[in-house]
């Protein structure tokens, strides 16, 4: 056992110089990918449930492909392909934001699909019966209920998303983990900084998952 750890170098100045920037990016990436991912994911879920073959097949292909490739590979793919497509290099941070939005949409779409399917069919018929169009029925009746039913699962997925943002390590983007790593390298204290990084991730994710659990109890729909 060698417990020769020294955390004293982690002063407020060090944290705000190295770590804060990374934390801001990680949170930014999580929020953008969550909002974009849920929007895109809902669209894909509607495509998969549309019953029209030319919509169902591409949507299924999108979801199944992305879900069977490791996220790190997806990150590398986008980092390689986007510059080829737009003809100029793209920063690691921006590339990560695009990648995570597209990637998470596949996972969010599965959640939204389950959510939409959990709404009783009678609700759709009721919408049509009062003269609503498909769009109105979805927008005003089905999606709000689906969203509400699935809110805890969507948020849990977002916590996983937040953890996964650490994988931008593969393309060298400056996220929370990178911030700790740089600080550790600068002060030659990698062991301590990795430990603190683990604790910080744990505290954030654990408290968020506690919140989700409380929310779940609160919003459970009484039928």
């Amino acid at each position: 056992m060698n417990l020769n750890l020294d955390f004293t170098f982690l002063s407020w100045n060090v944290v705000s110089a190295f770590v804060a920037k990374g934390l801001v990016f990680s949170v930014q990436l999580t929020l953008v990918a969550m909002i974009g991912g849920i929007a895109l994911g809902t669209l894909i879920a509607l495509m998969r449930l549309s019953g029209k073959k030319w919509l169902v097949l591409p949507a299924a292909f999108y979801v199944n492909t992305l879900r069977s490739i490791p996220l790190v590979m997806v990150i590398l793919w986008f980092f390689l392909l986007i510059p080829l497509l737009i003809g100029r290099p793209m920063g690691a941070e921006l590339s990560a934001i695009v990648t995570f939005t597209v990637f998470e949409a596949a996972y969010y779409s599965e959640i939204m699909r389950a959510g939409i399917q959990s709404v009783p069919r009678g609700q759709v018929y009721a919408g049509y019966a009062v003269g609503m169009t498909y769009r109105q029925t979805m927008q005003l009746i089905v999606l709000p209920q689906a969203f509400r039913n699935m809110l805890p699962v969507l948020l849990t997925q977002t916590i996983i998303l937040f953890q996964d943002t650490s994988l931008v390590y593969a393309i060298g983007a400056y996220d929370l983990l990178k911030g700790f790593e740089v600080a550790g390298k600068n002060f030659n204290r990698p062991v301590e900084t990795y430990l603190v990084a683990a604790v910080v991730y744990f505290v954030i994710c654990f408290s968020l998952s506690m919140l989700v659990r409380r929310l779940q109890k609160k919003i459970a729909i009484i039928r």
Binding site: P70, L71, L76, L80
Partner: protein, 235 residues
Amino acid sequence: MGKWDWQVFLQDTGGGQTYLEWLMSAWGWTLSVALLALVVALVVGSLVGILRTVPNKALSMFGECWVELFRNVPLLVQIFIWYHVIPSIFLGLQKVPSFLLVVLALGFFTSARVAEQVKAGINALPRGQRYAGLAMGLTLPQTYRYVLLPMAFRIVIPPLTSESMNIIKNSSVAFAVSIAEMTMFAMQAQEETSRGIEIYLAVTGLYFVSAFAINRIALFLEQRVQVPGMIGGGK
């Protein structure tokens, strides 16, 4: 972008082997890491999952803490902890090859998920089964061994299948501590050859094949052990 150039795989890496040979050895590393980690995850995860269902506050609390600890820290951070932190605190572990440390990291990370599934499987059984076992005079371990677990494990095969496929995907994170697995290969070969698309396609294809193979094996297993008379069960 230019045309395809699959001949890149026949080029020499400069180390006396072709890129194809390197890719194959990287695939071997990916499978070894994933399969060994899967064994760790199934053994540890089952134990922790069982602990969470026993009528003993301390034991189920321990299981609870285990799951929360390994579920709320990103895999990459856990791998760094095993690789950088643990050997420098427990000096005896410095001789352990990094391959094994990554196996443990990935295995313990996945064990939290396995434990969740196993717990759900045991709790899905009617409570009467446990009482029936105990009422017949079986001890608690016997009740688990002969009554609860044989059913619970069959119930959790489908979710465990998807965890097994996840472990193949998650093994890609091992690149961060320089394990010579497929993602590491993809990054390095891409840099050396500049034929990123061909390299990435091959690697992605192999990940796909590996996960699909696990899926088929698990399906076979599921059909072999299914309980007659259950929904989705055998004839």
